[in-house]
């Protein structure tokens, strides 16, 4: 899940300065779960923008704003309302903003939310980052706790000296030291040998932006040459 938070309303107004007509876009996926771009939030935003003299020409909650097909369908469905708008205010993640914007070359898109991280929803309103999508997974060696993400320094060979007796990180006493968590889990399971292995420096070669990934094309099997 992409964890999001709505930008302050004043900032949205600044983004819309000089514009009157706006189309509102939400997303039924992460942005709805994070209460940033679901029906409830889009309706509330419409009301507030109207009070501030804006005209909402239309609104749409995309099924999944980062799914190009879903965006195409939604855009087609709301062609007129989008054309009538000066811009689209997108209450979704940065990928959603660009997914919509890239399909509407001549239409300004405004980002209405900050994209925070890929995270776990512990409960509504409480989110935690657990994976940084690094393409060099260490979870097998740590019995399922990611130090690249959950250690403040992303250390891969064990802790620094900065953990407290309570197992908290010196960078932020509210955060657990990932390596104390890992150590305790490995110890409990009799897996400490995993921690003793030197892990080579983390690889970043496949971490260079912008990343892309594409399935290999599946070519139809070659036909056997016909027997003479």
């Amino acid at each position: 899940m992409i964890i999001l938070k709505q930008k302050p309303f004043e900032e949205l107004l600044r983004e819309l300065e000089g514009e009157t007509n706006v189309f509102l876009a939400g997303c039924a996926d992460c942005a709805t779960t994070c209460k940033v771009g679901g029906e409830e939030e889009i309706d509330a935003l419409e009301k507030k923008l109207t009070e501030h003299g804006k005209t909402v020409t239309g609104k749409h909650i995309f099924d999944t704003a980062c799914l190009a097909g879903s965006v195409r369908d939604g855009v087609k469905q709301h062609k007129e309302a989008i054309e009538a708008a000066d811009s689209i205010l997108v209450m979704a993640c940065g990928t959603g903003v660009q997914s919509i914007g890239d399909q509407l070359e001549d239409k300004q898109v405004h980002p209405g939310a900050e994209s925070l991280f890929v995270g776990e929803v512990a409960r509504l309103g409480k989110y935690a980052e657990k994976c940084t999508l690094c393409n060099d997974c260490v979870l097998e060696l740590t019995d399922g706790i990611c130090p690249v993400t959950r250690c403040s320094k992303g250390l891969v060979n064990g802790p620094c000296g900065g953990y407290s007796e309570e197992g908290k990180c010196e960078v932020d006493p509210d955060k657990d030291c990932a390596w104390v968590l890992i150590y305790k889990r490995l110890q409990k399971r009799g897996h400490l040998h995993k921690m003793k292995e030197i892990r080579p420096p983390h690889g970043y070669s496949s971490h260079h932006h912008p990343r892309s990934y594409q399935w290999e094309k599946r070519r139809p099997p070659k036909k056997e040459p016909a027997a003479p």
């Binding site: 064990g158 000296g161 900065g162 953990y163 007796e165 932020d172 420096p201 983390h202």
Partner: protein
């Protein structure tokens, strides 16, 4: 040849000191202190590397200035600010400037310092940095050529590779495991985080007995009872016993330096039989070093 290495190789108790570069270009005062109080009293002087993530003049330049004054430096390198290209390059640069002792550290996080918006790097961890230093000494770097072989260096450096450990960490075993890895990665000496409790230090030394590496116990001079209490509250793995706090609290302000040198000297004296050296961190009170050494019974 590193005097620090020779001293430890000869089985002599090695005492090192430490200076912090200034925030700015005014390096003379700290160099003067090093020449006056550290030169001749300690075998080598650590130079901190952007300590506590507070921006300041670099460690390598200060190390070179010490070399020019006949003082052997220990070049501290943290992994916070440089990727593997810059770390290896700086290690080579240090070598050509006549710096042999290198201490590999993770480095305090940028949020602890005065540029909290900086991007922390940690491309390598301290184990990776020690491996990199070892590799450079063997004449190759961490990279690979087109055929997949390590890149050959035109001239290999010579280092005496150090690392750190926190003997008072709780739980301790993760520290011990990490230290084992550091030794495997090429560490040749250890300077510890501050220790104030000889009994606890003895326990720690038993836990790492199997590691045949010289340990220099870390001594941070106490400037006041308040500082001791602050460390107990905020510095993980450091515990100042109540007795020492009380001794500082009962000391008049003008006598603090004297008592501080007595406490530090006593700690070194008591822990000398357990380890191979002491690392004195005087936090600017460099003039205490001669007294600490005398109080420790290290001078005839």
């Amino acid at each position: 040849m590193s005097q620090l290495r020779e001293t430890l190789d000869a089985g002599q108790f090695a005492v090192t000191g430490e200076i912090g570069p200034p925030k700015g270009t005014n390096v003379e005062p700290v160099l003067h202190e090093a020449e006056t109080f550290l030169k001749g009293n300690v075998v080598a002087v650590n130079v901190t590397d952007i300590q506590t993530a507070v921006m300041r003049t670099g460690s390598m330049a200060m190390c070179r200035l010490l070399v020019e004054r006949g003082i052997e430096p220990v070049f501290q390198m943290v992994c916070r600010d440089r990727n593997r290209l810059a770390l290896q390059s700086d290690a080579l640069s240090a070598a050509v400037l006549g710096i042999e002792n290198v201490l590999a550290l993770t480095g305090d996080h940028v949020v602890m310092g005065d540029h909290p918006d900086a991007k922390p790097v940690y491309d390598l961890d301290s184990v990776g940095l020690l491996q990199a230093l070892s590799r450079l000494e063997s004449g190759t770097d961490m990279g690979l050529d087109m055929k997949g072989n390590p890149n050959e260096l035109d001239g290999a450096p010579k280092f005496f590779r150090g690392c750190v450990v926190t003997p008072g960490a709780d739980p301790l075993e993760p520290q011990v495991i990490k230290l084992e890895k550091k030794v495997e990665a090429g560490a040749q000496f250890v300077q510890t985080q501050a220790v104030y409790d000889p009994a606890a230090f003895e326990q720690f030394m038993k836990k790492i007995e199997h590691l045949k590496i010289p340990i220099l116990v870390g001594i941070v001079v106490l400037k006041s009872a308040g500082m001791a209490k602050y460390m107990n509250r905020s510095v993980p793995g450091v515990q100042v016993p109540d007795g020492i706090i009380q001794q500082m609290a009962e000391t008049a302000k003008e006598d603090r330096k004297k008592v501080s040198a007595q406490i530090a000297g006593r700690l070194v004296r008591e822990m000398k039989p357990m380890c191979q050296g002491a690392h004195l961190m005087t936090l600017g009170w460099d003039d205490l070093v001669p007294d600490i050494i005398t109080n420790a019974g290290l001078k005839p």
